[in-house]
Point group: C2
Protein backbone atom coordinates (compact mmCIF):
# COMPACT_ATOMS: atom_id res chain seq x y z
CA UNK A 1 0.00 0.00 0.00
CA UNK A 2 1.24 3.41 -1.03
CA UNK A 3 2.03 6.18 1.41
CA UNK A 4 -0.67 8.81 0.94
CA UNK A 5 0.87 12.26 0.49
CA UNK A 6 -1.68 14.57 2.04
CA UNK A 7 -1.85 18.18 0.89
CA UNK A 8 -2.90 19.43 4.31
CA UNK A 9 0.49 18.52 5.79
CA UNK A 10 2.21 20.71 3.20
CA UNK A 11 -0.32 23.48 3.80
CA UNK A 12 0.25 23.44 7.55
CA UNK A 13 3.99 23.67 7.25
CA UNK A 14 3.71 26.55 4.76
CA UNK A 15 1.21 28.35 6.99
CA UNK A 16 3.55 28.85 9.93
CA UNK A 17 6.23 30.56 7.86
CA UNK A 18 3.68 32.64 5.98
CA UNK A 19 2.04 34.00 9.12
CA UNK A 20 5.44 35.12 10.38
CA UNK A 21 6.14 36.86 7.08
CA UNK A 22 2.74 38.57 7.05
CA UNK A 23 3.23 39.79 10.64
CA UNK A 24 6.62 41.11 9.70
CA UNK A 25 5.15 43.03 6.75
CA UNK A 26 2.33 44.40 8.92
CA UNK A 27 4.82 45.61 11.51
CA UNK A 28 6.35 47.64 8.68
CA UNK A 29 2.99 49.13 7.75
CA UNK A 30 2.33 46.87 4.77
CA UNK A 31 -0.92 44.96 4.44
CA UNK A 32 -0.42 42.32 1.72
CA UNK A 33 -3.43 42.30 -0.59
CA UNK A 34 -4.70 39.98 -3.31
CA UNK A 35 -7.07 41.23 -6.02
CA UNK A 36 -9.33 38.59 -7.52
CA UNK A 37 -10.61 39.61 -10.94
CA UNK A 38 -13.50 37.60 -12.29
CA UNK A 39 -15.85 38.04 -15.24
CA UNK A 40 -19.18 36.23 -14.81
CA UNK A 41 -19.97 33.59 -12.22
CA UNK A 42 -18.73 30.20 -13.39
CA UNK A 43 -19.19 27.65 -10.63
CA UNK A 44 -15.54 26.44 -10.92
CA UNK A 45 -14.23 29.97 -10.53
CA UNK A 46 -16.47 30.71 -7.56
CA UNK A 47 -15.41 27.51 -5.84
CA UNK A 48 -11.71 28.25 -6.36
CA UNK A 49 -12.29 31.84 -5.24
CA UNK A 50 -13.92 30.75 -1.98
CA UNK A 51 -10.98 28.44 -1.26
CA UNK A 52 -8.43 31.12 -2.14
CA UNK A 53 -10.06 33.75 0.06
CA UNK A 54 -10.30 31.37 3.00
CA UNK A 55 -6.64 30.37 2.67
CA UNK A 56 -5.40 33.94 2.16
CA UNK A 57 -7.43 35.45 4.97
CA UNK A 58 -6.33 32.58 7.18
CA UNK A 59 -2.76 33.85 7.05
CA UNK A 60 -3.73 37.51 7.39
CA UNK A 61 -3.95 38.69 3.77
CA UNK A 62 -6.61 41.03 2.48
CA UNK A 63 -8.62 39.86 -0.53
CA UNK A 64 -10.52 42.21 -2.81
CA UNK A 65 -12.91 40.71 -5.34
CA UNK A 66 -13.57 42.59 -8.57
CA UNK A 67 -16.51 41.02 -10.36
CA UNK A 68 -17.56 42.05 -13.87
CA UNK A 69 -20.60 41.24 -15.93
CA UNK A 70 -20.23 38.55 -18.60
CA UNK A 71 -21.16 41.06 -21.34
CA UNK A 72 -18.66 43.80 -20.38
CA UNK A 73 -16.99 45.23 -23.48
CA UNK A 74 -13.25 44.93 -24.04
CA UNK A 75 -12.19 48.53 -23.61
CA UNK A 76 -14.25 49.02 -20.44
CA UNK A 77 -12.77 45.89 -18.93
CA UNK A 78 -9.22 46.83 -19.89
CA UNK A 79 -9.64 50.27 -18.35
CA UNK A 80 -10.97 48.81 -15.11
CA UNK A 81 -8.19 46.25 -15.10
CA UNK A 82 -5.57 48.95 -15.60
CA UNK A 83 -6.85 50.74 -12.52
CA UNK A 84 -6.59 47.53 -10.47
CA UNK A 85 -3.11 46.92 -11.82
CA UNK A 86 -1.73 50.33 -10.82
CA UNK A 87 -3.37 50.33 -7.38
CA UNK A 88 -0.42 50.63 -4.96
CA UNK A 89 -2.28 48.71 -2.25
CA UNK A 90 -2.71 45.62 -4.40
CA UNK A 91 0.30 43.29 -4.48
CA UNK A 92 -0.92 40.34 -6.49
CA UNK A 93 -3.67 39.72 -9.04
CA UNK A 94 -5.55 36.48 -9.64
CA UNK A 95 -7.30 36.71 -12.99
CA UNK A 96 -9.79 34.03 -13.97
CA UNK A 97 -9.64 32.72 -17.52
CA UNK A 98 -10.96 32.02 -20.10
CA UNK A 99 -12.54 35.39 -20.86
CA UNK A 100 -15.79 35.84 -22.77
CA UNK A 101 -15.35 35.97 -26.56
CA UNK A 102 -15.46 39.76 -26.90
CA UNK A 103 -12.32 40.21 -24.77
CA UNK A 104 -8.88 39.50 -26.23
CA UNK A 105 -6.87 37.69 -23.55
CA UNK A 106 -3.51 38.89 -24.81
CA UNK A 107 -4.52 42.55 -24.68
CA UNK A 108 -5.51 42.19 -21.03
CA UNK A 109 -2.39 40.31 -20.01
CA UNK A 110 -0.15 42.87 -21.72
CA UNK A 111 -1.49 45.40 -19.25
CA UNK A 112 -0.50 43.36 -16.20
CA UNK A 113 2.64 44.20 -14.29
CA UNK A 114 4.72 41.01 -14.13
CA UNK A 115 5.48 41.81 -10.48
CA UNK A 116 1.78 41.44 -9.66
CA UNK A 117 1.36 38.43 -11.95
CA UNK A 118 1.34 35.79 -9.23
CA UNK A 119 -0.01 32.99 -11.45
CA UNK A 120 2.40 33.26 -14.41
CA UNK A 121 0.36 34.74 -17.22
CA UNK A 122 2.74 37.45 -18.47
CA UNK A 123 5.61 36.96 -20.93
CA UNK A 124 8.02 38.10 -18.25
CA UNK A 125 7.13 35.26 -15.87
CA UNK A 126 6.74 32.65 -18.62
CA UNK A 127 10.23 33.51 -19.90
CA UNK A 128 11.63 33.22 -16.36
CA UNK A 129 10.14 29.78 -15.80
CA UNK A 130 11.44 28.68 -19.20
CA UNK A 131 14.94 29.93 -18.51
CA UNK A 132 15.09 28.61 -14.94
CA UNK A 133 15.16 32.06 -13.33
CA UNK A 134 13.52 31.63 -9.94
CA UNK A 135 12.83 35.32 -9.34
CA UNK A 136 9.53 35.03 -11.23
CA UNK A 137 6.19 33.50 -10.22
CA UNK A 138 5.42 29.98 -11.45
CA UNK A 139 1.84 28.93 -12.09
CA UNK A 140 0.45 28.07 -8.64
CA UNK A 141 -0.59 24.51 -9.50
CA UNK A 142 2.79 23.63 -11.00
CA UNK A 143 4.57 25.04 -7.97
CA UNK A 144 2.19 23.17 -5.66
CA UNK A 145 3.46 19.91 -7.19
CA UNK A 146 7.04 20.93 -6.44
CA UNK A 147 6.07 21.81 -2.87
CA UNK A 148 4.52 18.40 -2.32
CA UNK A 149 7.67 16.67 -3.62
CA UNK A 150 9.86 18.90 -1.47
CA UNK A 151 7.80 18.54 1.71
CA UNK A 152 7.87 14.76 1.56
CA UNK A 153 11.57 14.70 0.66
CA UNK A 154 11.07 12.98 -2.66
CA UNK A 155 14.40 12.71 -4.41
CA UNK A 156 14.30 14.37 -7.86
CA UNK A 157 17.92 14.60 -9.02
CA UNK A 158 18.65 12.01 -11.73
CA UNK A 159 15.20 10.42 -11.40
CA UNK A 160 12.97 9.63 -14.37
CA UNK A 161 10.05 12.01 -14.14
CA UNK A 162 7.16 11.53 -16.55
CA UNK A 163 4.56 14.24 -17.03
CA UNK A 164 1.31 13.27 -18.71
CA UNK A 165 -0.09 16.50 -20.17
CA UNK A 166 1.54 19.53 -21.80
CA UNK A 167 -0.53 22.57 -20.81
CA UNK A 168 1.03 25.97 -20.25
CA UNK A 169 -0.29 26.07 -16.68
CA UNK A 170 0.90 22.65 -15.51
CA UNK A 171 2.77 20.31 -17.87
CA UNK A 172 5.25 22.71 -19.49
CA UNK A 173 6.19 24.80 -16.44
CA UNK A 174 6.51 21.66 -14.31
CA UNK A 175 8.82 20.21 -16.96
CA UNK A 176 11.09 23.24 -16.55
CA UNK A 177 10.95 23.13 -12.75
CA UNK A 178 11.74 19.41 -12.58
CA UNK A 179 14.55 19.88 -15.09
CA UNK A 180 15.97 22.63 -12.91
CA UNK A 181 16.07 20.05 -10.07
CA UNK A 182 17.96 17.69 -12.38
CA UNK A 183 15.22 15.19 -13.18
CA UNK A 184 15.43 13.35 -16.49
CA UNK A 185 12.21 14.47 -18.01
CA UNK A 186 9.65 12.93 -20.35
CA UNK A 187 6.48 14.65 -21.52
CA UNK A 188 3.61 12.48 -22.81
CA UNK A 189 0.31 13.59 -24.31
CA UNK A 190 -2.62 12.47 -26.44
CA UNK A 191 -0.37 11.64 -29.43
CA UNK A 192 2.06 9.53 -27.39
CA UNK A 193 2.21 5.83 -28.23
CA UNK A 194 2.49 3.52 -25.25
CA UNK A 195 1.98 5.98 -22.37
CA UNK A 196 1.61 2.91 -20.18
CA UNK A 197 5.11 1.62 -20.96
CA UNK A 198 6.63 5.05 -20.44
CA UNK A 199 4.87 5.59 -17.10
CA UNK A 200 5.85 2.10 -15.97
CA UNK A 201 9.54 3.14 -16.12
CA UNK A 202 8.97 6.39 -14.18
CA UNK A 203 10.26 7.15 -10.69
CA UNK A 204 7.92 10.14 -10.53
CA UNK A 205 4.64 10.36 -12.44
CA UNK A 206 2.80 13.66 -12.76
CA UNK A 207 -0.75 13.15 -14.02
CA UNK A 208 -2.01 16.36 -15.60
CA UNK A 209 -4.00 15.13 -18.58
CA UNK A 210 -7.48 16.15 -17.43
CA UNK A 211 -8.92 12.68 -18.04
CA UNK A 212 -10.70 10.98 -15.14
CA UNK A 213 -8.92 7.90 -13.72
CA UNK A 214 -6.83 7.51 -16.88
CA UNK A 215 -3.79 6.10 -15.06
CA UNK A 216 -4.58 2.76 -13.52
CA UNK A 217 -2.30 0.40 -11.59
CA UNK A 218 -0.96 -1.01 -14.90
CA UNK A 219 0.79 2.32 -15.53
CA UNK A 220 2.62 2.31 -12.23
CA UNK A 221 5.65 0.56 -10.74
CA UNK A 222 6.12 -0.24 -7.08
CA UNK A 223 8.91 2.36 -6.82
CA UNK A 224 6.82 5.19 -8.31
CA UNK A 225 5.75 8.41 -6.62
CA UNK A 226 2.46 9.45 -8.23
CA UNK A 227 1.34 13.08 -8.14
CA UNK A 228 -2.19 13.61 -9.37
CA UNK A 229 -2.98 17.11 -10.64
CA UNK A 230 -6.32 16.16 -12.23
CA UNK A 231 -9.63 17.41 -10.87
CA UNK A 232 -12.48 15.71 -12.69
CA UNK A 233 -16.08 14.85 -11.94
CA UNK A 234 -16.90 11.22 -12.68
CA UNK A 235 -20.14 9.79 -14.09
CA UNK A 236 -21.61 9.61 -10.58
CA UNK A 237 -20.85 13.24 -9.86
CA UNK A 238 -17.89 12.48 -7.59
CA UNK A 239 -14.61 14.38 -7.64
CA UNK A 240 -11.70 12.28 -8.90
CA UNK A 241 -8.19 12.70 -10.27
CA UNK A 242 -6.45 11.57 -13.45
CA UNK A 243 -5.21 8.56 -11.51
CA UNK A 244 -7.40 5.64 -10.49
CA UNK A 245 -6.53 6.03 -6.82
CA UNK A 246 -8.06 2.77 -5.71
CA UNK A 247 -5.97 0.52 -7.94
CA UNK A 248 -2.87 2.76 -8.16
CA UNK A 249 -2.51 3.09 -4.40
CA UNK A 250 -2.18 -0.70 -4.18
CA UNK A 251 1.00 -0.57 -6.26
CA UNK A 252 2.71 2.85 -6.03
CA UNK A 253 5.28 3.71 -3.38
CA UNK A 254 3.53 7.02 -2.67
CA UNK A 255 0.54 8.86 -4.11
CA UNK A 256 -1.42 12.09 -3.68
CA UNK A 257 -5.20 11.78 -3.24
CA UNK A 258 -7.91 13.81 -5.05
CA UNK A 259 -9.39 15.70 -3.30
CA UNK A 260 -6.91 16.48 -0.55
CA UNK A 261 -3.69 16.44 -2.55
CA UNK A 262 -2.10 18.99 -4.89
CA UNK A 263 -5.30 21.08 -5.16
CA UNK A 264 -5.19 21.78 -1.45
CA UNK A 265 -1.68 23.18 -1.74
CA UNK A 266 -2.39 25.43 -4.76
CA UNK A 267 -4.12 28.21 -2.81
CA UNK A 268 -1.29 28.20 -0.24
CA UNK A 269 1.17 28.82 -3.07
CA UNK A 270 -1.10 31.62 -4.29
CA UNK A 271 -1.06 33.20 -0.81
CA UNK A 272 2.69 32.81 -0.60
CA UNK A 273 3.15 34.56 -3.94
CA UNK A 274 1.12 37.52 -2.65
CA UNK A 275 3.32 37.69 0.44
CA UNK A 276 6.45 37.52 -1.72
CA UNK A 277 5.13 40.23 -4.07
CA UNK A 278 4.40 42.50 -1.09
CA UNK A 279 7.86 41.82 0.30
CA UNK A 280 9.55 42.51 -3.06
CA UNK A 281 7.65 45.74 -3.42
CA UNK A 282 8.80 46.82 0.03
CA UNK A 283 12.48 46.11 -0.56
CA UNK A 284 12.57 47.67 -4.03
CA UNK A 285 10.86 50.80 -2.70
CA UNK A 286 13.52 51.37 -0.08
CA UNK B 1 24.78 2.58 -43.51
CA UNK B 2 22.87 5.67 -42.51
CA UNK B 3 21.49 8.20 -44.95
CA UNK B 4 23.56 11.36 -44.50
CA UNK B 5 21.32 14.39 -44.08
CA UNK B 6 23.31 17.19 -45.64
CA UNK B 7 22.71 20.75 -44.51
CA UNK B 8 23.47 22.18 -47.94
CA UNK B 9 20.35 20.57 -49.39
CA UNK B 10 18.20 22.33 -46.81
CA UNK B 11 20.07 25.59 -47.42
CA UNK B 12 19.52 25.40 -51.18
CA UNK B 13 15.82 24.81 -50.86
CA UNK B 14 15.47 27.71 -48.38
CA UNK B 15 17.51 30.00 -50.63
CA UNK B 16 15.11 29.96 -53.59
CA UNK B 17 12.12 31.05 -51.51
CA UNK B 18 14.17 33.65 -49.64
CA UNK B 19 15.47 35.33 -52.81
CA UNK B 20 11.91 35.66 -54.05
CA UNK B 21 10.87 37.23 -50.75
CA UNK B 22 13.81 39.63 -50.74
CA UNK B 23 13.07 40.70 -54.34
CA UNK B 24 9.46 41.27 -53.39
CA UNK B 25 10.51 43.49 -50.45
CA UNK B 26 12.95 45.42 -52.62
CA UNK B 27 10.25 46.04 -55.22
CA UNK B 28 8.32 47.74 -52.39
CA UNK B 29 11.30 49.90 -51.47
CA UNK B 30 12.43 47.85 -48.47
CA UNK B 31 16.02 46.70 -48.15
CA UNK B 32 16.13 44.00 -45.43
CA UNK B 33 19.06 44.63 -43.14
CA UNK B 34 20.83 42.66 -40.40
CA UNK B 35 22.87 44.41 -37.70
CA UNK B 36 25.65 42.31 -36.19
CA UNK B 37 26.69 43.60 -32.77
CA UNK B 38 29.94 42.26 -31.42
CA UNK B 39 32.15 43.19 -28.47
CA UNK B 40 35.76 42.12 -28.89
CA UNK B 41 37.12 39.70 -31.47
CA UNK B 42 36.63 36.13 -30.28
CA UNK B 43 37.60 33.73 -33.04
CA UNK B 44 34.29 31.77 -32.74
CA UNK B 45 32.28 34.96 -33.15
CA UNK B 46 34.32 36.13 -36.13
CA UNK B 47 33.96 32.79 -37.84
CA UNK B 48 30.18 32.72 -37.30
CA UNK B 49 29.99 36.33 -38.44
CA UNK B 50 31.80 35.60 -41.70
CA UNK B 51 29.42 32.72 -42.41
CA UNK B 52 26.36 34.79 -41.52
CA UNK B 53 27.40 37.70 -43.75
CA UNK B 54 28.12 35.42 -46.68
CA UNK B 55 24.77 33.67 -46.35
CA UNK B 56 22.79 36.88 -45.85
CA UNK B 57 24.44 38.79 -48.68
CA UNK B 58 23.97 35.73 -50.86
CA UNK B 59 20.22 36.22 -50.73
CA UNK B 60 20.37 39.98 -51.09
CA UNK B 61 20.34 41.20 -47.48
CA UNK B 62 22.44 44.09 -46.20
CA UNK B 63 24.68 43.37 -43.19
CA UNK B 64 26.03 46.10 -40.92
CA UNK B 65 28.69 45.14 -38.40
CA UNK B 66 28.95 47.15 -35.16
CA UNK B 67 32.15 46.22 -33.37
CA UNK B 68 32.95 47.47 -29.86
CA UNK B 69 36.11 47.34 -27.79
CA UNK B 70 36.30 44.63 -25.11
CA UNK B 71 36.68 47.30 -22.40
CA UNK B 72 33.66 49.44 -23.35
CA UNK B 73 31.71 50.48 -20.24
CA UNK B 74 28.14 49.39 -19.69
CA UNK B 75 26.33 52.66 -20.14
CA UNK B 76 28.23 53.59 -23.31
CA UNK B 77 27.45 50.21 -24.80
CA UNK B 78 23.78 50.38 -23.85
CA UNK B 79 23.46 53.82 -25.39
CA UNK B 80 25.05 52.68 -28.63
CA UNK B 81 22.89 49.57 -28.63
CA UNK B 82 19.75 51.65 -28.13
CA UNK B 83 20.62 53.67 -31.22
CA UNK B 84 21.05 50.48 -33.26
CA UNK B 85 17.79 49.13 -31.89
CA UNK B 86 15.71 52.14 -32.91
CA UNK B 87 17.29 52.52 -36.36
CA UNK B 88 14.34 52.15 -38.77
CA UNK B 89 16.56 50.68 -41.46
CA UNK B 90 17.67 47.75 -39.32
CA UNK B 91 15.23 44.83 -39.22
CA UNK B 92 17.06 42.21 -37.21
CA UNK B 93 19.88 42.22 -34.67
CA UNK B 94 22.42 39.47 -34.06
CA UNK B 95 24.08 40.08 -30.70
CA UNK B 96 27.09 37.99 -29.73
CA UNK B 97 27.24 36.67 -26.16
CA UNK B 98 28.65 36.28 -23.58
CA UNK B 99 29.48 39.91 -22.84
CA UNK B 100 32.56 41.06 -20.96
CA UNK B 101 32.11 41.11 -17.17
CA UNK B 102 31.39 44.82 -16.84
CA UNK B 103 28.24 44.58 -18.95
CA UNK B 104 25.03 43.16 -17.48
CA UNK B 105 23.46 40.97 -20.15
CA UNK B 106 19.91 41.41 -18.89
CA UNK B 107 20.12 45.21 -19.04
CA UNK B 108 21.16 45.06 -22.69
CA UNK B 109 18.52 42.54 -23.69
CA UNK B 110 15.78 44.58 -21.98
CA UNK B 111 16.55 47.33 -24.46
CA UNK B 112 16.02 45.12 -27.51
CA UNK B 113 12.77 45.26 -29.42
CA UNK B 114 11.42 41.70 -29.57
CA UNK B 115 10.49 42.31 -33.22
CA UNK B 116 14.19 42.72 -34.04
CA UNK B 117 15.25 39.88 -31.75
CA UNK B 118 15.82 37.30 -34.46
CA UNK B 119 17.76 34.86 -32.24
CA UNK B 120 15.34 34.63 -29.27
CA UNK B 121 17.02 36.55 -26.47
CA UNK B 122 14.11 38.68 -25.21
CA UNK B 123 11.42 37.57 -22.75
CA UNK B 124 8.82 38.16 -25.43
CA UNK B 125 10.30 35.58 -27.80
CA UNK B 126 11.24 33.12 -25.04
CA UNK B 127 7.64 33.22 -23.76
CA UNK B 128 6.34 32.63 -27.29
CA UNK B 129 8.52 29.58 -27.84
CA UNK B 130 7.50 28.24 -24.44
CA UNK B 131 3.80 28.71 -25.12
CA UNK B 132 3.95 27.38 -28.69
CA UNK B 133 3.14 30.72 -30.31
CA UNK B 134 4.82 30.63 -33.72
CA UNK B 135 4.71 34.39 -34.32
CA UNK B 136 8.01 34.83 -32.44
CA UNK B 137 11.59 34.04 -33.44
CA UNK B 138 13.10 30.77 -32.20
CA UNK B 139 16.84 30.50 -31.57
CA UNK B 140 18.37 29.96 -35.02
CA UNK B 141 20.13 26.70 -34.14
CA UNK B 142 17.02 25.12 -32.63
CA UNK B 143 15.00 26.11 -35.66
CA UNK B 144 17.71 24.78 -37.97
CA UNK B 145 17.17 21.33 -36.44
CA UNK B 146 13.45 21.56 -37.17
CA UNK B 147 14.23 22.61 -40.75
CA UNK B 148 16.46 19.60 -41.29
CA UNK B 149 13.75 17.25 -39.97
CA UNK B 150 11.14 18.94 -42.13
CA UNK B 151 13.22 19.04 -45.29
CA UNK B 152 13.97 15.32 -45.14
CA UNK B 153 10.35 14.47 -44.27
CA UNK B 154 11.22 12.92 -40.92
CA UNK B 155 8.01 11.96 -39.17
CA UNK B 156 7.78 13.60 -35.73
CA UNK B 157 4.18 13.07 -34.56
CA UNK B 158 4.01 10.39 -31.85
CA UNK B 159 7.73 9.59 -32.17
CA UNK B 160 10.07 9.28 -29.20
CA UNK B 161 12.42 12.24 -29.43
CA UNK B 162 15.35 12.39 -27.03
CA UNK B 163 17.30 15.60 -26.56
CA UNK B 164 20.70 15.36 -24.87
CA UNK B 165 21.35 18.82 -23.42
CA UNK B 166 19.12 21.43 -21.83
CA UNK B 167 20.48 24.84 -22.81
CA UNK B 168 18.25 27.82 -23.39
CA UNK B 169 19.52 28.19 -26.95
CA UNK B 170 19.08 24.59 -28.11
CA UNK B 171 17.75 21.92 -25.74
CA UNK B 172 14.83 23.73 -24.14
CA UNK B 173 13.47 25.56 -27.18
CA UNK B 174 13.82 22.42 -29.30
CA UNK B 175 11.87 20.52 -26.65
CA UNK B 176 9.01 22.98 -27.07
CA UNK B 177 9.18 22.90 -30.88
CA UNK B 178 9.21 19.09 -31.03
CA UNK B 179 6.35 18.96 -28.51
CA UNK B 180 4.38 21.33 -30.71
CA UNK B 181 4.83 18.80 -33.52
CA UNK B 182 3.48 16.10 -31.20
CA UNK B 183 6.69 14.22 -30.40
CA UNK B 184 6.88 12.39 -27.08
CA UNK B 185 9.78 14.19 -25.57
CA UNK B 186 12.62 13.24 -23.23
CA UNK B 187 15.34 15.62 -22.07
CA UNK B 188 18.60 14.12 -20.78
CA UNK B 189 21.58 15.91 -19.26
CA UNK B 190 24.68 15.45 -17.14
CA UNK B 191 22.65 14.18 -14.15
CA UNK B 192 20.75 11.58 -16.18
CA UNK B 193 21.40 7.95 -15.33
CA UNK B 194 21.62 5.62 -18.30
CA UNK B 195 21.59 8.10 -21.18
CA UNK B 196 22.60 5.19 -23.35
CA UNK B 197 19.47 3.16 -22.58
CA UNK B 198 17.25 6.20 -23.11
CA UNK B 199 18.85 7.09 -26.45
CA UNK B 200 18.63 3.46 -27.57
CA UNK B 201 14.81 3.70 -27.42
CA UNK B 202 14.67 6.97 -29.37
CA UNK B 203 13.25 7.43 -32.86
CA UNK B 204 14.90 10.85 -33.04
CA UNK B 205 18.06 11.78 -31.13
CA UNK B 206 19.15 15.40 -30.83
CA UNK B 207 22.73 15.65 -29.56
CA UNK B 208 23.27 19.07 -28.00
CA UNK B 209 25.49 18.32 -25.03
CA UNK B 210 28.66 20.06 -26.16
CA UNK B 211 30.79 16.96 -25.57
CA UNK B 212 32.92 15.67 -28.43
CA UNK B 213 31.82 12.28 -29.84
CA UNK B 214 29.87 11.45 -26.68
CA UNK B 215 27.20 9.43 -28.49
CA UNK B 216 28.68 6.31 -30.04
CA UNK B 217 26.96 3.52 -31.94
CA UNK B 218 25.95 1.87 -28.64
CA UNK B 219 23.54 4.75 -28.00
CA UNK B 220 21.75 4.35 -31.30
CA UNK B 221 19.16 1.98 -32.78
CA UNK B 222 18.87 1.08 -36.44
CA UNK B 223 15.59 3.03 -36.71
CA UNK B 224 17.04 6.24 -35.23
CA UNK B 225 17.39 9.60 -36.94
CA UNK B 226 20.38 11.33 -35.34
CA UNK B 227 20.70 15.13 -35.44
CA UNK B 228 24.04 16.41 -34.22
CA UNK B 229 24.06 19.99 -32.96
CA UNK B 230 27.52 19.79 -31.39
CA UNK B 231 30.48 21.74 -32.73
CA UNK B 232 33.64 20.69 -30.91
CA UNK B 233 37.33 20.61 -31.64
CA UNK B 234 38.90 17.24 -30.89
CA UNK B 235 42.38 16.53 -29.49
CA UNK B 236 43.85 16.66 -33.00
CA UNK B 237 42.32 20.05 -33.72
CA UNK B 238 39.60 18.65 -36.01
CA UNK B 239 36.00 19.81 -35.95
CA UNK B 240 33.61 17.13 -34.68
CA UNK B 241 30.10 16.80 -33.32
CA UNK B 242 28.63 15.34 -30.13
CA UNK B 243 28.06 12.13 -32.07
CA UNK B 244 30.81 9.74 -33.07
CA UNK B 245 29.90 9.92 -36.74
CA UNK B 246 32.09 7.04 -37.84
CA UNK B 247 30.51 4.42 -35.60
CA UNK B 248 27.03 5.94 -35.38
CA UNK B 249 26.59 6.17 -39.14
CA UNK B 250 27.06 2.39 -39.34
CA UNK B 251 23.94 1.86 -37.26
CA UNK B 252 21.54 4.82 -37.51
CA UNK B 253 18.85 5.11 -40.15
CA UNK B 254 19.85 8.71 -40.87
CA UNK B 255 22.39 11.15 -39.46
CA UNK B 256 23.61 14.73 -39.90
CA UNK B 257 27.36 15.23 -40.35
CA UNK B 258 29.58 17.79 -38.54
CA UNK B 259 30.62 19.97 -40.30
CA UNK B 260 28.02 20.19 -43.05
CA UNK B 261 24.90 19.45 -41.04
CA UNK B 262 22.80 21.63 -38.72
CA UNK B 263 25.46 24.35 -38.46
CA UNK B 264 25.21 24.98 -42.19
CA UNK B 265 21.48 25.61 -41.89
CA UNK B 266 21.70 27.98 -38.89
CA UNK B 267 22.77 31.06 -40.85
CA UNK B 268 20.02 30.43 -43.41
CA UNK B 269 17.50 30.50 -40.59
CA UNK B 270 19.10 33.74 -39.39
CA UNK B 271 18.72 35.25 -42.87
CA UNK B 272 15.13 34.05 -43.07
CA UNK B 273 14.33 35.69 -39.74
CA UNK B 274 15.67 39.01 -41.04
CA UNK B 275 13.48 38.69 -44.12
CA UNK B 276 10.46 37.87 -41.96
CA UNK B 277 11.18 40.79 -39.62
CA UNK B 278 11.38 43.16 -42.61
CA UNK B 279 8.15 41.74 -43.97
CA UNK B 280 6.35 42.07 -40.63
CA UNK B 281 7.51 45.64 -40.30
CA UNK B 282 6.15 46.43 -43.73
CA UNK B 283 2.71 44.95 -43.12
CA UNK B 284 2.29 46.46 -39.66
CA UNK B 285 3.29 49.89 -40.98
CA UNK B 286 0.55 49.86 -43.63
Amino acid sequence: MATVLKGIEVVNSMKIKMMDDVNDLKSKGIQPCLAIVRIGQREDDLSYERGAIKRCEGVGLICKVFEFKENIDESSFINKFKAINIDENIHGILLFRPFPKQINERKVIEVMDSEKDIDCMTSGNLAKIFSGDETGYAPCTAEAVMRVLEHFNIDICGKNAVIVGRSLVVGKPLAMMLLKKNATLTICHTKTNNIQGICKRADIIIAAAGKARMLTSEFISDYAVVIDVGINVDENGNLCGDVDFESASQIAMAITPVPGGVGTVTTSVLAEHVVRAAHMKMITRV
